[in-house]
Structure formats: C-alpha cells, structure tokens
Point group: C2
Chain length 479, copies 2
Amino acid sequence: MEDESGSLPPISDFSAWYNDVLWRAEIMDVRYPVKGLYVWYPFGFGLRRHTYAILRNLLDVSGHEETLFPLLIPKTEFMKEAEHIKGFEEEVYWVTHGGLSELDVPLALRPTSETAMYPMFALWVRSHADLPLRVYQIVNTFRYETKHTRPLIRLREITSFKEAHTVHATWDEAAAQVEEAIGLYTQFYDDLCIPVLISRRPDWDKFPGADYTMAVDALMPDGRTLQVGTVHHLGDHFSLTFDIAYEDAAGERQLAYQTCYGISERCIAAVIGIHGDDRGLVLPPKVAPVQVVIIPIIMKKMAEEVRAAAESLKQELEGLGLRTRIDDRDLRPGAKYYHWEMRGVPLRIEVGPRDLTAGTVVAATRDGEKMSLDRTRVSDEVPAILDAFGVRLRERAETRLAERIVPASDLAAASAAIETGVAVVHWCGDEQCAEALEKETNGSVLGTGVRSTHIGGGEGNCIVCGRPGSTLTVIARTY
Amino acid sequence: MEDESGSLPPISDFSAWYNDVLWRAEIMDVRYPVKGLYVWYPFGFGLRRHTYAILRNLLDVSGHEETLFPLLIPKTEFMKEAEHIKGFEEEVYWVTHGGLSELDVPLALRPTSETAMYPMFALWVRSHADLPLRVYQIVNTFRYETKHTRPLIRLREITSFKEAHTVHATWDEAAAQVEEAIGLYTQFYDDLCIPVLISRRPDWDKFPGADYTMAVDALMPDGRTLQVGTVHHLGDHFSLTFDIAYEDAAGERQLAYQTCYGISERCIAAVIGIHGDDRGLVLPPKVAPVQVVIIPIIMKKMAEEVRAAAESLKQELEGLGLRTRIDDRDLRPGAKYYHWEMRGVPLRIEVGPRDLTAGTVVAATRDGEKMSLDRTRVSDEVPAILDAFGVRLRERAETRLAERIVPASDLAAASAAIETGVAVVHWCGDEQCAEALEKETNGSVLGTGVRSTHIGGGEGNCIVCGRPGSTLTVIARTY
C-alpha cells in the first residue's frame, strides 16, 4: 500500500512534512473522493486503537460508563437550544431523503451529541440517587467545514470523537467534575508524552450553550497551537431546555447541572506532530502499534539459526506483552530500518550471525541510542529501555514547549513570539482589548488562568490599554 | 435507569418477552424519538464490548487488519455497480445539505461499504505481492427500513456492523476465503454458545453483486430463524467496476477477485433470545459484562466482617481476570438476586455470617445449580464452574435446535414444522417450485448444502414437483 519513492520533507517545513508522513507511515489515505473525508490505513488504525484504549480505560476506572447513542438527530430536537443552534447551523449535514422519498422531519448528522442524549437523560434521571450520571461514547461526528480541511485536524467526518456527558445535583458538583475531567485529560496526554496548556477560553470562544469552557492545547512544531480537548460546564442551559430534573432527598424537584468534555483524533495529530522528526514518526511506547521490530540480518552462513533466534526473541518479547514484529522481507537491512523509522517504532533489535556467536543483540531506539545487549538480559532490559525512551520523549517535548512560551510586554514582542510559539501577556479581560490584540498580532487569545509549570502568576498592565491589575493570558496562532 | 415494576412476560410469548427484557436488563432504550434508532444502555454496551472483542480477536489472528473508511459515499461512486444500486436504492439515506446550502453531489450514508472501499482498493492493489488484502471495520451503517423495526434485529442505524472485505488473485482463492470466513463465524458463535445453520442462499436472495452468498442462521425461541452472518463471493463484479487489478508474476495485468462478509448486532439479539428464560437474560460467560456478582448478606452481627470478606473475594476473582461486582445496595437479598438474574450474570456468590463461620461461600449459577464452596477453593473452582455453565448453555441450545429441525416430505408437514422451527425438504432447485413452496408453507427457502450435524445428506423427490435427485434444503419463517 505504500510508495517509498522520493523522500520526506524536513519537519521544519511542517505542513509538507505532515501531509507526507501521513501516507509514508501509512496513517491516513487522503485520496478518498470527498473533501475532508479520509481513510485510516491499518497501521494508523493500530495507533488509534492503542491511543483510545488508554482514554477508554481512564474513563472506565473513574466512574464513566460507555454507551452509544444514534447518529441521526431529528431537527425538532436539534432546534430546541437556541445558542446551540446558532453555534452549529452553518456546519450541520442534513439527511433529507430515505430511499426515493423525502423525510417528514430532516435528520441532522450529530456534530456533537447533546441534543441526542439529553432528551434521554431527562428519562434516565429521576431521583438524586441517579446522580451523578457519567457516560461517554466514541463515535463519528460531522461538520460541514468550509475552511481548508486537513487529516486528523479539520475534518468533515470526525471519525473518533470521544464525548463524555455528566449530570449532577449542583453547579458546584459539575464544576468539580470539570476539574476531574481536566485531570483525566492531563493524564491521557502524559501517557502520550505530550505536555499541554490548560486555560479558560474567553467567553466569545466558549461552547455554544456552556457557562464556561476549559481547553487543552498542544503546541505543534510550526508554532501553532492545536486544541486537543475541551471541557464544558453547561450549567443548567440544557437541563432547562430538555427538562433534566431530579427529586432531592426532601422530595423537591430540582433542575440538574451538566458538563460535557471531548477529545477527537486531533490527539493522534498531536502525537504525530509533536514527536516526529526528519525521519518520520516517533511514537510513544504505550501507543505504538509495533513497539519492537526485530530485523534478522540474514547472511549466507547461519541463516537458519538467525531466523530461529529472531523467532524465539519475538516470542519472548510477546510474552512480556510487547507488540513485536519480525521483518523478514527480502530487503537489505537499511531499507528495513528506513521503513520502521518512518513508522516511529520505538525499538529496533538486530540479530545477525555475529550476535549469535557473541550471545548478544544490537538494540537501537528511535531517538538514536544504540547498545549491545546480552541475549539473556533482553527480557529484563527491554521494558526499561522503552520506559526510558518514553521519558526522553516527554522531556524533549516539555523542553521545546518551555522554550517557545515567551512573555511579551508589548504588541511587537507578542507578534514576534507567536511566530514560533505562545506569547504570555497581561490582558485586562476587556473584549475590545482582545480584538485589538488579536488584530495586531494576528494571533488568538487562548485563554486565562493558564495552568502550566512554564507560566508564572502575577498581575500587570494590560498589553493593549495599560490597565493595571490585568491577569496573564496566552495568545498564539491556532489550528 | 430502570423500573422494576411489573414482571417479565414468559419467554413463550417471545415478542413481548424480547421487548421487555431489553429495558429490564438495561440493554437498549427504545424511547429515542426516531423510529428504528435505539440507545445502548451502559450494561448493554458492556455486552457489545465483550462480544465484539471476541470477533475482533478472531479476525486479527487470522490475518485481517482493522481499518476505518468514511460513512459518506458520493452518489457518483455509489451508482457505479448496477446490481448493487438496484439492491439498495430504496433503502439509502441521502445527505443533501451541508449547513444552509445544498451539496453539489448528494452523499449516501453507507448501507454497506463496497462503494466506499473499492475505489481505494484500486489504489492499494498493484502487484500480486499486495494480495491477499484482508481488512475489516466495525462501524455504523444505515438502512431506510420501511418494514416494522425491532431493536438489534431490524434497524435504521445498524450501530455495530463488522464488515470484512478481501481481495485475491484468483476466484478459487476467494472461494477458499469464503470457507475460512465461515469457519471464523462458526467459532465466533461457538464462543457465544450458539449453534448455527450454514447454507448457500438461493440465487434470488444473494447479495446484490455477488457470485454466491453463504448465510449463517440461528433459530430463535419463536421458531423463526435470524440471519446472523453472511459471506459473499463477489467474483469479479466489483473489481471490474472499480478497476481492482494486479500485475502477476509474469508482469501481466489481472483482474482481482473479492469476498466480503459481515456480522451486525443481530449477534447480540441471538445471545439474548437463544439463551434467555422466564427470569431474563442468561449470558455466556465469555461475553457477560458481569461474570460473577457477590451478594454480601448483611445482618446485625458480623456486618463489617462480611463486607470485608466480599471485598477480598472480589479482589481474588478480579485477579483471575473475572469481571466481578459486589452488590452492596441497601436492598433485601431477594431483590438483588432478581436484579442480577434479569441481567444474566452467570454466577452469583453469597457471603453471609454463617459462611464466614463455616469457611464457605454459597455459589449459584444462572441456570440453577447451587453449591457450597470451601472459601479456600474458590479461585480453583470458579473458572471451572463458569466453563461448565458455558458448556451447558451450548448443549441446551444445541438440543433445542436439533428438536426443531424436522424433515418433511409433503407441504402440509413442512408447514407444520416451520410453526416451531426449520423444515428439511428436498427441492429440485427450480425457482418456480421454491415460489410454490414458500407460498404454500408461508416460509422462506434458507438455502441448500446445509451444514449442520442435525441434517443428513441424501437425495430425494422434490417436495413440489416430485423430480427425483433433488437435494436437501431448509425452509423456515425468518426475521
């Protein structure tokens, strides 16, 4: 399914690198004949599978239950929440015909599932004993994007939207759930070795129908931030509209409070972009579809012994639960190295006649550490080598992020900073000042109350109007 | 989320039982406001998760790779294969609008993915070295059903369609893949403790665009068969249309041959229907969301010790990989037994003060075997108890199937036989005879060449025209 002709552009030319690595590493095929729709290659799907298994597990062990709601939402339900409609009306796909006849009520392809789920929540929630309700689903959602589309990042079919929805007795309990969700997402991205910035989106950029929106942003190599998760406190907007109420301990009817939070396949885009290098993908061990590739070095002598040694090594590593593959294709070793480096495999182990004689194997990590291992020690050492590799990936990403977060005290400095990363400025919170700031710098206000070890606290003068007592805000060019 | 008022109809009133058990056991919520669309409750989704994990694993280990193609198929592609269009044109949902504007090309919601996948296969397959190609995906598909809809059985959104698609160098290799798929499906249903009938569908009932269709049918308690899997040899119909060809070893361009095979959430309907009883679900151990439920019997004395004993038992069983839950709700034990029997939990373990004193626990299987186990032997015995329970489920289902397969030598006998099951008749293969047979008996010809240990071989006289040398065929009332 691949063509290894030509070569990968350097990652410094990020947009070209990204488009190219997707097919060279067999993540997505972009040749599907509809704009904004893409095909997951099996290797890419393997990456998706392991990534979403982590997410699923985090949700399962923290009291969420997986469920599945219909894709099709009747227009009558979809149109119930006014702000929500306004936020989505230009982006919704409509099914108008079934077979050869027109439908009585058009059906929306869910852009997100509030209006599919909440009429059911109204039936499910009756008493305080039913709360909190925490469910999630991993589904395809749709947006009629008119902007430039890009695989995994801006799609018409978001194939892998994990959306969680919760219902609580009080506003404060919902706010606590928002914090828990932020914790889960931080843990998730930590497993992907990705440092993130958490901030509270400005009001004009919050989810349609939310009290407030917390966002998780990652910094891509081209200096633009990618929103890789959002957590919304919905207050009672939707519970009012959909009549989600419960009987409290005293027998009184009370309106419920809600949250919702989501992560899409942008998490995969972040893994690809943030860790990749000039030779292709570099995958965190926990999500790599192939964690260890074994390359038998076949010469004339001892060919059978080398093959057998590779097979026994594979079985030993699989016994440790490691996803291991032998590449025994009839190609020169260099071509195989190139192939698996492109696919980001964390560890390569070479087994040749000399190794057999010496009782060793050669191990090379994807970031260039090469070592000779005693064959009898492989099972002991490989897990630690993979762990250490993951730690290095995380540290490297953390360092790069820290380097590109730059405090700026005037607009020119802010403009310069967001050429390569994130500018930290003081902003008074006034929307007009934000407009001026965005216009002057050509960036966007990500949000306030930024949680990052790389950003301190402290008040200062608004970068636009100079008002003292303004708080720290991050701005960046965004995807 | 449940209401345990009223009681479950007896399974002899199957249609009422089925509708009721779906919500009482929290499998599906049927109150979603669009006909033919339903909501998976978390418990039902757990059953789906474990069932599809088996299916996924069977495909993975037999050389299939998981992938994911878009839901939306442009009309231009969809309309390319003439027979295929004819088979689906009355059932396809069409997306005609994106946001506020009309689309240039309407988009079909996939009823199945041939026309989404095969244009890509044409790009993926170039040389004989690319073959065989074997991929699968588990996705939602759509049919605008005008008939009576029914959860898990006849849906407008099939939420869980596992479709596999393969490409081969020759017709024979594709035929061999058909056999392999039948083997996988038989294994899958064996894991669900469900005996199936495999047969070759008559030509008028094959998949639109197939050379032939093999079908997997299960027999439901009301005597109707449920098609729970199909395997299609597509010949070169689609490879001609979509230009899927390869260069053979001699450098010649050759047309490829294809197969596809699918299983939907009907597999869950079969699990529910075939094993259920008057008290609710009876779930095979491999797919039960809760395999063991522990009921602490809380009295005044030793309440804390009982709670601690239940917790330590749970941890021990989870250590064996068993999905275990403690029901410590403030309800009387009888209400808890009822609750978990309805949900089909294979094994219930009761721990009370008397058990603590005696060093035992009471174990009761869902099919009514009750025993006292030495507490120290629980880890040794529970896995074997679950295995034996699964064996009994399978045997019970096998016996019931065998009893309801009845040879019939005249139309009256065939009519009578299909009131409760499947009639085995001789049929000459002539379509007119089949029409008469179906009309007279009010049944359908399932197919020929039936593979079942309950059906022998041997030729005979056609049940309609009397022609000698006719082969065995099964007929039944179908879902």
